[in-house]
Symmetry: C2
Subunit: 573 residues, 2 copies
């Protein structure tokens, strides 16, 4: 390693060191010189159809890989990506957003360049980024650039949220010191505070005295980096384990003591009874948005909970700050004496069958997800777009190591399709070392699909093994349920979904054998038995026709019935 | 008119009073209750495929109609629209961005709702909007809402830029005073300053003494509301009149003294010679970005210019502030004594013919635009997307009242396709009163098209008469020209463009008769003679195949040749 290195090489070397294999984005005249360094650095360049799609894809990649990078151009590119970056912030996905900006001489002279408001102001888009990224920096000189890069990458990892990096177009080739590169970047540890032993002993005391304990694994556990430890805890205790929506896919549902989703009053009655009479709820990575908690009905009471979150542990109403959840959990696992803990009998598990479904039945929400579930294999990724797909996805029983992406908090429709591209690519890169192969399945409504459909062409270009199941119910059914169930504003334009693969450039031979439509449960079951559906190559499309107002039991049906009752009352008056 | 009115009705009544006929946007759970009022108010709801497309469409509508409105939902929706709003700011298009936000009780209690970062913070997206809109307001009580609405609509009109209006989901039905509605909203006039007579006499003095005068009409003249006056001035003086890129389509190119684009060293040599030896350049609505001025080579020297811009008039190096350009121009027209002004002989006009083109020629940039030009009719709208299309569009000779949209400053690729939807819709609404009919033609490269292609389905749904000409040169040719002409990052995925109409839902019969591909000039000419191409119904698609590195003479060819020379030099070393 020489003493000096070009700035772009420094940045990309760091990304490679941190396990990034692909970069997402769109070329633009202020980032082209940076793009020259991507492939030589050993990185794969994914040219997306637009920047929002690129940001969504980077988010998906990051959720599987642990870090991702996105390159856009100043103004036009970065602002198109804003919603995707915000979603990564809301749901804790570390995305390094690298923005190619005008060369320093133009910025310094306040030149009235394109991609600005022609007023000499170059700071406004960076100012906007402060609201949706956890750290921001601008590389403007050789001396400070390496440390700034290291710092911003650490911020992304520490907070598990997106960061914003401005890189003027005349900087990629500038020489910087390569000295830092000899030391791999690591995330600084939280020092053990004096009260750590006390926290541990309080936890152990509660653990040993618990008569009806529960483990609750929420989605921010991923950001805390404690998933392996949690797996050990779940096995060691054998305690009934539940997940909120965000936690689904982070624990092994094949264990007898793992129940999957806890939905309080919107789920299994016996699970609710057990949960609500628990005397200890070990809670990890909580994320208490309305949509992740069934309007906060699944949030444990303070008195019952011990909650591990970012650099704090809360025991009953007391919050211990500046403490590492990972460190305390690690000590807990080391200290745990299995003979002192209870081996409780959890609630009976719900058994899902499809015996009641007839071949001639139309495909309804209540039977569709049960029929699809068996095609998922170990390590697969399943993505369920906001709307009826996400509600249905909550009921899946997941194979070991399968990941599920659902609707958590940001709920930006259209997200899941490019997210699928990113997640599938990250998984393929992970599998390259082992030779394993996995399927990625996206279930998405027709309304959401229209937001970002063009990214199917990038999936095809990347030769990814992706099954896209399109729920065709002629519009935004989830919005119909919330309000305006008969209003035209909840309709979407008519598309011929079975032509997508051909339009988006797949081989004509492939198209013929990898596009299906199902109207009845019998048709669906026959299609699902096809090898090309459940374990095929390339991108496949399965369109399933459903009723415009068909929703599963739970919050959606509750809202729909409420709306109908209000209409009836109004009509009666 | 009653004394009270529901807030949403107040807002939409004001928009209707100001000539808005359609609203763009996407439904979301925080704006559904607002959407209930759109159609009853006499407005047409255009449900777009996504919010960026909706913002682009609203911008296009506004450029034809003078004002437009866009409705998105909190966070996810509004951020997706950000780039489109910023473009409207940069290029002076008044768009009222109405954001449906969570109900006041949820905001006041800092509830951890979806579409937030689940941290109780509700202000960050509004804070972001301050950088890309000219005014912002939040409707939170009945007492202040009507005045806030009036104020923000006036700001949009005064500045001809976008504004941001937050409307909580529990506000649309709140009763507010309707008293204001009796008085139509008007834009406050700039009071005549004491120095106005002096300014006028200085201008007249220069006008009467000019020996080689020029009129230069730039694009911000539209925002100044002086287009009709300029038409009078151009006819009254008969002076040679030029436009920068942004001004193209704002003056009547059928007049003998109107020359179209002035491109300095990148255009006609004799025009440059005349322009550079002028002793007076009456300049209106200047917009001096690099891309609108051929790197500032078309900007008149201070000593020669009298420049009319927002509330200032500049004469030589002296700037008079707080003065109305429209008022001064109006007085100038009234005072002007035609017998005292020179009737100069302008440079000879360039004659464009197609005689040198053979049927077997491949379609090259240098012949394509000449061949297409004759299909445009009076009052038509022609949109040329950033890239080779926009450069070619600058050479069109436009029929009277035709409008041309080109690449000015924001240059966000993908913009022109949804913009076409908005512009065509506004034109159709204008024509409804007269029974006139017009065509809208979009010329767009395949790279740009992929950004926003799904909006073709909304054009189809809206039954608009739009011809889309797709330049298929396998990627981002304009980026290839700037840098990396052989790099893969400037390629795009392969699409079958002739399948677009079918995929996006047009009638199968229509599809067959309204999709064409041309590879040679002969094929192109034959297709262009087809009635369905130049004056057909509905959306039609014409794909033209061009070479990956084919660009017109001018800045693009200059950059390409420079790149090739650098490569050759590098290879020689």
């Amino acid at each position: 390693m020489t003493d000096n290195i070009k700035l772009a090489d420094y940045l990309f070397t760091r990304l490679v060191q941190l396990g990034v294999g692909s970069i997402f984005g769109v070329p633009g005249d202020y980032n082209l010189r940076l793009l020259d360094y991507v492939v030589p650095a050993g990185l794969h360049w994914v040219g997306n159809c637009n920047e929002l799609n690129a940001a969504y894809a980077a988010d998906g990649y990051s959720r599987i890989n642990g870090l991702s990078a996105l390159i856009t151009t100043f103004g036009v590119g970065e602002l198109s990506a804003a919603n995707g970056i915000a979603g990564a912030y809301a749901e804790r996905s570390p995305v390094v957003h690298i923005v190619g900006t005008p060369p320093r001489p133009l910025q310094d002279s306040r030149a009235l360049m394109h991609h600005t408001f022609a007023d000499g102001e170059y700071g406004r888009f960076a100012a906007m980024s402060t609201h949706i990224t956890v750290a921001q920096t601008k590389l403007v000189d050789a001396q400070t650039a390496p440390d700034k890069i290291d710092w911003i990458l650490q911020q992304a990892l520490i907070h598990s949220r997106p960061v914003y990096l401005e890189l003027p177009d005349d900087m990629p080739g500038v020489l910087v010191s390569s000295a830092n590169l000899k030391t791999p970047l690591s995330v600084p540890k939280i020092p053990s505070p004096a009260h750590e032993p006390q926290v541990l002993s309080r936890i152990l005391e509660r653990v040993y005295s618990a008569k009806q304990p529960v483990i609750l694994v929420d989605g921010e556990s991923r950001a805390l980096g404690i998933l392996d430890q949690l797996d050990t805890l779940i096995k060691a205790t054998n305690w009934p384990t539940f997940v909120p929506v965000f936690g689904k896919g982070l624990v092994n549902e094949s264990y007898d003591n793992v129940y999957g989703l806890y939905a309080a009053g919107f789920g299994d009655e016996l699970a609710k009874k057990y949960f609500e009479s628990a005397d200890l709820i070990l809670t990890f990575g909580p994320h208490y948005s309305d949509t992740n908690t069934y309007f906060w009905t699944t949030v444990p009471k303070d008195a019952l909970a011990i909650t591990f979150k970012d650099s704090t542990i809360q025991i009953e109403s007391e919050t211990y700050r500046d403490i590492s959840p990972a460190s305390v959990l690690s000590q807990l696992l080391q200290s745990l004496d299995s003979s002192q803990i209870i081996n409780p009998t959890g609630p009976p598990k719900q058994v899902v069958t499809t015996d009641d479904i007839n071949d001639t039945d139309i495909i309804a929400q209540k039977n569709f997800f049960r029929l699809v579930n068996p095609i998922f294999g170990e390590g697969d990724i399943i993505l369920t777009e906001t709307g009826t797909a996400a509600y249905g996805g909550r009921t899946f029983k997941l194979p070991p190591k399968a990941r599920l992406f659902g609707a958590i908090t940001w709920l930006s429709i259209g997200f899941m399709l490019p997210c699928t591209l990113g997640a599938a690519l990250a998984k393929r890169e992970q599998n390259a070392a082992t030779g394993a192969s996995n399927q990625t399945t996206l279930i998405i409504g027709d309304g959401s699909l229209q937001m970002t459909a063009q990214e199917i062409s990038v999936m095809i270009k990347e030769k990814l093994n992706i099954l896209i199941i399109i729920i065709n119910n002629e519009g935004y059914t989830i919005e119909r349920v919330i309000h305006g169930r008969k209003e035209k504003y909840n309709d979407v334009p008519f598309w011929r979904h079975t032509q997508a693969l051909s339009y988006f450039g797949a081989d004509e031979e492939h198209v013929k054998e990898n596009t299906w439509t199902a109207k009845t449960c019998g048709e669906l079951q026959e299609i699902l038995r096809n090898d090309r559906v459940h374990s095929g190559q390339g991108v496949r499309i399965l369109e399933v026709m459903m009723d415009r107002e068909d929703v599963q039991e739970g919050p959606l049906l509750y809202m729909l019935n409420k709306q109908k009752a209000e209409e009836a009352a109004a009509a009666g008056n």
